[in-house]
């Protein structure tokens, strides 16, 4: 191999999706033994660029060189043969198969009948070399998210990838697990691998990478040596203008409790316990944040608190009234509104019109409904008001919701849930995947709801968001509440990380009045 040639060289890459240019004339390269960070906001085109390199998408223009040779991938199989491996944000693993079975997926060159023992030995060999411990016989569905990520990385090493793309690998990890991942990455670069590290977290990029390429709205904003730049400079390139995100949060006295649960137990979709004895309460004039690594029962907790999931034991109360296992409609009627993470799958009906979606939570109420009938003129009027009030950009209220962008979907949903001043809103990942402007909009709306006397329960994977937005912060791990922190901004992040990993810390440990409900 010619060592002077970069491992990967991409030139003038362009990719359009219907109506959107995801990549426009982007140049990018990776050298041997370097961590090249790919930085940009959600929607800047990072994943698209890497999916092109990995052969999943075909570019509409531009060239790709691997070790100096121009190539054209028509499938991920081609990319794999060129030594490119990618660990996706949603791991490409088969949940119903074991670790060793996943290792050899799609590999050719193996005998027809699988030599299990040799395969397992090789897995153990590689896992020892890089400090990635796994049990080859475990099923994927039995593994935690962190373990699954190890399997996904191993999977790429197993197929001798020397260019490894990690797509936002830290989003699903506790701070401690992140450290472990960084160790592995350093080990890999030491062995001569080239790593692409996709992120939007500046600290990680500064700490880990040797070079960084910034994308902004599908275009190249610059490629810099990490050692000769600063966080502020990167932030500026990423967002396009000097923009410091500040939250204008008024000090408000906490009001009466609106939504409470105590010793709540609930099962997950697969029938295993997902929430184990959680007790929390959300009050008027308050945002209660819930932190935790994805999949530790946050969503199930929210669903159980709005009647969408059965409480196996424990109780749910709304303004003091026992509502355990009541119908979802009873919760809606008492002003308990829910913004699910899965916008198109749960929150909206993609094939129906904006107007039809806008009345999903009020189609039985006047004036949109009268007796058995729906008054479509009233529906249209309501939808038009909602769209303008929450600045949803849509051609008309007759447009099917599936044609709206993520930010507009979220605004529509937010508008629908907040429009009649509910007592409490449970928002799960409300800013996930949104650009800065839409993110600000959503946060402002939630804060103004709090000011008007509403209660907010906020679930997020973005710890910064949680710390700056929340009045109190509950930390969840394996379905349990590890503790509820007052004034989370004053608590060291490392402690929150420990709690996310399963350490119970009482608030007194921080020398303040504790509140563990």
């Amino acid at each position: 191999m010619n060592t002077e040639q970069p491992l990967v060289h991409m030139e003038g890459i362009t990719k359009r999706f219907a109506g959107v240019t995801a990549n426009f004339g982007i140049n990018f390269e990776v050298r041997r033994g370097e961590v090249h960070a790919l930085l940009g906001e959600n929607g800047a085109g990072k994943s698209t660029l890497m999916n092109i390199l990995y052969g999943l998408y075909r570019p509409d223009g531009g060239k790709i060189f691997i070790s100096g040779k121009e190539i054209s991938f028509s499938s991920p199989g081609d990319a794999r043969k060129a030594g490119i491996g990618m660990v996706h944000q949603h791991f490409m693993l088969i949940r119903s198969q074991t670790v060793w079975e996943n290792m050899i997926l799609g590999l050719d060159g193996l005998p027809l009948v699988l030599p299990r023992r040799e395969i397992k030995e090789r897995i153990l060999g590689i896992s020892e070399q890089y400090g990635l411990q796994v049990d080859p016989d475990a099923y994927i569905w039995q593994l935690s998210i962190g373990e699954q990520q190890r399997v996904a990385i191993l999977q790429m090493l197993f197929r001798q990838a020397n260019i490894l793309i990690l797509d936002e690998p830290t989003a699903v990890l506790t701070p401690q697990e992140c450290e472990h991942l960084f160790e592995t990455v350093r080990q890999m670069t030491a062995e001569g691998h080239g790593i692409v590290f996709i992120s939007h977290k500046l600290d990680e990029v500064m700490g880990l990478s040797s070079r960084v390429t910034i994308l902004r709205r599908g275009k190249l904003a610059g490629t810099l040596d990490t050692s000769s730049t600063t966080k502020e400079r990167l932030a500026e390139l990423m967002v396009g203008k000097k923009m410091v995100f500040s939250i204008d949060k008024k000090e408000l006295a906490r009001g009466r409790p609106v939504l409470e649960c105590s010793s709540l137990h609930a099962l997950g979709d697969r029938g295993f316990p997902a929430v184990s004895g959680a007790s929390i309460s959300v009050h008027e004039h308050e945002i209660l944040g819930i932190a935790g690594v994805a999949g530790n029962g946050q969503q199930e907790l929210c669903e159980a608190m709005v009647g969408l999931r059965k409480a196996e034991s424990g109780s749910v109360r709304v303004k003091g009234e026992d509502m355990t296992n009541r119908a979802p409609k009873d919760f809606i009627d008492r002003g308990v509104h829910y913004i699910p993470a899965d916008r198109k799958g749960t929150g909206l009906v993609p094939n129906m019109k904006v107007s039809e979606n806008s009345i999903l939570k009020r189609y039985w109420k006047r004036p949109v409904s009268k007796g058995f009938f729906i008054k479509w003129s009233e529906v249209a009027a309501f939808a038009i008001k909602l769209v303008s009030q929450f600045s949803v950009s849509t051609p008309s209220v007759e447009t099917p919701v599936r044609n709206l962008s993520g930010g507009n979907l979220q605004k529509l949903m937010l508008g629908r849930e907040l429009s009649d001043d509910p007592a409490v809103v449970l928002a799960v990942h409300p800013t996930w995947g949104l650009d800065v402007a839409a993110t600000c909009f959503v946060r402002e709306q939630l804060l103004s709801h709090r000011e008007r006397g509403g209660a907010v329960l906020l679930v997020s994977e973005d710890l910064d968001e949680l710390i700056s937005m929340s009045d109190r912060l509950a930390v969840m791990c394996k379905g349990e509440i590890m503790g509820v922190l007052e004034r989370p901004a004053d608590v060291p992040v490392e402690s929150i990380g420990l709690m996310m990993a399963g350490t119970v810390i009482r608030d007194e440990a921080f020398g303040r009045e504790g509140s563990q409900e």
Partner: protein, 309 residues
């Protein structure tokens, strides 16, 4: 014993067409494609097998032809479901209608004819074992090959590379694609192969079971096979068990009819269908309690690489 053994033997014989159909559907569903056209494919297989065997005088040529025509039906289904990403339920119904109509239309010239069909070959040694011998090893070669097929698929799904890839495509096509497995190719291949095996099940009806052709002769066995796939939780060995169970009910019912029972024939003929509902109900209630795994997760959903969700 004298009464039981003939019933068990008949159970294996009448269960075999359902077994072939169930096995064919299992491998198709493992790839994530739901094929509800079994009834039509079986009928076409039964017709093709019979007409080719009648014209050529070779029952085995009939089996081969049925397999080939079955794969053609599978090709139609695969084209609609994989390439055109059409609705798999409706496509399956269309296959059934088309197959029913085409077999009746073509078969009109063959109604009333009989053929010698597949001959019985008692397996040496094995057929002398008491009970098991006459029940399992005193049949025609198509029954023996169904045993081999069951064992083969059990091994194939768990221990071979293509078997692993097949399961991956059915469970998570996005991941399989990202790992370089061709989702389209896999789905086409197993839809065709599965339909071919289903058609052999149909051919068994006309070549060995009745040794004649009759309009609508499969009488819902294709649909029973669809239900059996769920009962078998996509496991070939359980499929064999289920198919013989149904064969047993049918054999028992026929025996009661010939024995001159007072129970009216139509009531007896309801039994297999009632049992299908019963079995499905049982398995679904069990699944509701979280005991059951094994369904291919992507069953029925088309795959489009550049569609993001």
């Amino acid at each position: 014993m004298e009464i039981i053994i003939p019933i068990l033997t008949a159970a294996v014989r009448s269960g075999t067409p359902i077994l072939y159909a169930t096995l064919g559907e299992i491998i198709t569903e493992k790839a994530g494609i739901l094929n509800l056209g079994l009834e039509g494919i079986m009928l076409v297989g039964a017709y093709t097998g019979f007409s080719v065997a009648y014209s050529s005088g070779s029952a085995w040529l009939g089996v081969g032809a049925a397999f080939l025509v079955g794969t053609l039906m599978g090709l139609i289904h695969a084209f609609i479901c994989v390439t055109l990403k059409g609705n798999q339920v409706v496509s399956g119904l269309a296959i059934t209608m088309f197959g029913t109509g085409a077999s009746s239309l073509l078969g009109r010239e063959f109604v009333g004819f009989t053929i010698p069909g597949l001959s019985r070959i008692p397996l040496p040694v094995l057929s002398d074992i008491p009970v098991i011998g006459p029940v399992f090893f005193n049949h025609d070669a198509l029954i023996y090959s169904s045993y081999i097929l069951v064992l083969f698929f059990c091994w194939f799904f768990t221990s071979t590379r293509p078997g692993l890839n097949l399961r991956a495509v059915g469970d998570n096509p996005r991941a399989a694609d990202a790992m370089g497995i061709s989702v389209t190719g896999t789905r086409y291949f197993y839809t065709l192969l599965g339909a071919g095996i289903v058609a052999v099940g149909g051919a068994y009806m006309s070549l060995a079971y009745t040794k004649m052709w009759g309009e609508l002769m499969t009488a819902g066995r294709g649909w029973i096979a669809v239900a059996l796939v769920i009962f078998a939780i996509w496991n070939p060995a359980r499929a064999a068990f289920g198919a013989y169970l149904f064969g047993g009910v049918e054999a028992f019912q026929l025996r009661l009819q010939t024995a001159g029972t007072t129970i009216p024939t139509p009531v007896l003929m309801m039994l297999p269908y009632l049992m299908t509902i019963g079995v499905l109900l049982f398995i679904s209630i069990k699944k509701g309690k979280g005991i059951l795994f094994g369904a291919p997760a992507s069953l029925g959903a088309p795959f489009f690489r550049e569609e993001r969700d």
